[in-house]
Symmetry: C2
Amino acid sequence: MAEHTICLLVKLGQVAFRIAEDGIGGTGLRVRPTASCRPLADNAAMPQLALGAFLRIDPATMVTSLDDLERAGYAERTRDPQDRRRYAVDITDDGRKILADLNRTLAGLDSEILADLGATERHSLHALLGSLAESPALTAMFDAVREQNSAKRA
Amino acid sequence: MAEHTICLLVKLGQVAFRIAEDGIGGTGLRVRPTASCRPLADNAAMPQLALGAFLRIDPATMVTSLDDLERAGYAERTRDPQDRRRYAVDITDDGRKILADLNRTLAGLDSEILADLGATERHSLHALLGSLAESPALTAMFDAVREQNSAKRA
């Protein structure tokens, strides 16, 4: 199905996921929990629901990811000071350290997976993927699919 | 983790997978089984093991995918004429018809997910993803991860 861009994205996404998960193994964090860690380092504590929405992770997966991170000592849940009925999530000092390691690991993996592309191609690919990730049309489609699936489950 | 290309690939791959699976729903085929169908239409019957290797799908997943396709009447397993102990896999006429529908669906999804990119950007993205999918370095890394995982399971 290589003639469709969506199929290339699915295929390369699966390949990238397996390589990332394997490469991150050493830090003791899996890919998905780690994705939750990142915006915390950038944005400080966030309400748990806002973090899930930001990451486009469904609430159930979000809870599992945070359980993993909390058990590992990389994040902690506290009561949201804005609304005591809800949880806020914050990264710990250990979380920040592991995130720095992780950034080095991911930069190394980027060099490896893109080894056959020239510098210009790498930059173009990164910029195009970045544009696509920010695309309102794609985001709207994905949100529609997620809402449909949530509705089916409810 | 948006500054790493590998993270963009993982993220967009998951988004593309959910959108593709949702969009393909109408044809009654899931994304992974459908991926098995395609090379059969291009290459005619293939030994089951060769098909799995070609698609980089592990043997267990391959069997499940083929079971689904066979049940739906889109593929059939026969004894490999080259080696009677092994199975060959071939696509049926119904399989070819559904594949034509599927190609139209996927072309439509491409237009939708890439709606915010210009024509030049779409072509560049497609070409770059195609190069990456063919990259010997990436293929070698992925194969190494798969072999490691198979070894762990054995």
